[in-house]
Amino acid sequence: MMKKGFKDIYTGLVLFAASLLMFFYVIPHHIKAYTVYGLPPSFFPKVITVALGVFSFILIISGLRQGGKEAFSLEAIKEHFRSIDGRPARNVLMIFGIAILYYIGLATIGFIISTPIIIFLLGIAFRWKRYVILILISGLTTTVLYLIFGVVLGSPLP
């Protein structure tokens, strides 16, 4: 059985590493030093990054306290991955993949063609079995959205 603190420890570690990276690399390289008018632009991001570092450190400590000390053993990590059910993760990735496909579709073939296809794909991915209804809904949604955004609101849909 997975220990309660496991997730917290690793979340904390990742965020702590991220805050170090921000503080020592990203902020100095991507925010210009400037001091003519009051505090420099890098001041506020630095303060937040330090705060993030501190909070993630606290998270690691509290994770360890909750009996997650074994989290660092190889066995515990293996155990953790074994305990994850692959099915939900695959589902989420599939839906997210379709979402990215929609972005690509909007950027290339445009709204009118990609929207019904994506609704159809999502419907299938969600295991909706009545295809006729699905096709009707895809067409209807596209038309309605086109009317709302394209015609009433005058947005230049791609």
Binding site: Y34, L101, G105, I109, G110, I124, R127, Y131, G154
Partner: protein
């Protein structure tokens, strides 16, 4: 069945994308131009003054060009996103943009810009030139710029000026004035002219640069007054407010608005657009709309040649100011 359907749909999309990549672009001569609706890209949000001017132009131009013009807002990136969109579009005369000050002068200087604000652009026409005025609360002890400068010199670093959009045109105007007058003041930056107006009214800052449109109601109500204006000539609706030059400070900066296109646009089409836009400018209906949206006093026509000169002049004048403040990219 389900898998097959999914594969089919993905294939359909891929096919569509391939088709899209294939059939692009075709040229068209100036004679038949315009043969379809044109798009006017506004690089700011709907409802702002540039947007309203753009919509006014778009609503009148069909009278003179036989095709409608559709306004599209592409805000963001201090105006650069919309401008870049126009400049990267097919230079066929169907995608035009509204000129404003920032994305052609200060913004490319302070940020990395994906285009050259002078070389890549043709400024077809200019419609308005907005003055910038130094405003103070009505109960302030100064009545002109000299009073203010005297006080500022007596109290270096004590007086505060509220500044809309630091790094922008009005800020450069104020900095040019500060350099010309040789005074030291504290700057508190704000995000919009109306925020500066509020700070002036609340007494949180001593002076601020505002457009007359932003200050008008408060001046009328007797809560704000103008000490001077960075214009070439005095403003028609405030004839008593002296220009900075008249008061001995060589600052002449105003905010232009007009129409631009990618530099590669066919000169014949440019000519057609320029002529049509001039007719729009002189159209009574257009003038009526411009007055309604508060741009009446700022109307100022410049043809392509003058607009080009004006914009490059402004860009070159801003360059040293931006660099002297260390704000350059």
């Amino acid at each position: 069945m389900k898998k097959a359907l999914m594969i089919l749909m993905v294939a359909l999309m891929a096919g569509g994308m391939a088709l899209w990549a294939g059939g692009q672009q075709e040229a068209e001569s100036a004679e038949s131009y315009p043969s379809k609706p044109m798009t006017l890209v506004v690089e700011y949000n709907a409802g702002g003054s540039t947007d309203m001017l753009g919509r006014a132009i778009a609503s009148i131009i069909p009278k003179y060009m036989s095709q409608p013009m559709v306004v599209v807002n592409k805000p963001g990136g201090s105006g650069m996103i919309g401008v870049d969109y126009v400049l990267k579009s097919n230079p066929d005369g169907y995608t035009l943009g509204t000129t404003s000050s920032g994305p052609f002068t200060t913004v490319p200087l302070t940020q990395q810009s994906p285009y050259d604000p002078i070389e890549d652009v043709v400024f077809i026409a200019n419609f308005t030139l907005g003055p910038i005025a130094i405003c103070v609360p009505a109960d302030a002890p100064w009545n002109d710029l000299n009073d203010l400068v005297k006080d500022a010199k007596a109290n270096p670093g004590k007086l505060i000026y509220g500044q809309n959009a630091p790094g922008g045109t009005t800020h450069m105007a104020m900095e040019t004035f500060r350099a010309a007058a040789g005074i030291d003041m504290k700057m508190i930056p704000y995000n919009s002219g109306s925020e500066v107006a509020a700070a002036l009214l609340g007494g949180h800052v001593n002076t601020g640069t505002l457009s007359p449109a932003e200050a008008a109601e408060h001046v009328k109500a007797g809560t704000l007054k103008m000490l001077g204006v960075f214009n070439a000539e005095r403003m028609t609706d405030y004839p008593d407010v002296k220009t900075a030059v008249e008061q001995g400070y060589d600052v002449q900066i105003a905010v232009p608005k007009g129409v631009f296109a990618p530099a590669a646009l066919d000169p014949a089409k440019i000519k057609m657009l320029e002529e049509a836009l001039e007719k729009v400018y002189n159209d009574e209906e257009f003038v009526a709309i411009a007055k309604k949206i508060g741009l009446g006093p700022e109307l100022y026509w410049m043809n392509m040649e003058d607009s080009q000169k004006f914009m490059s002049g402004m860009y070159n004048a801003m360059k040293p100011v931006v660099e002297s403040l260390g704000l350059g990219n």
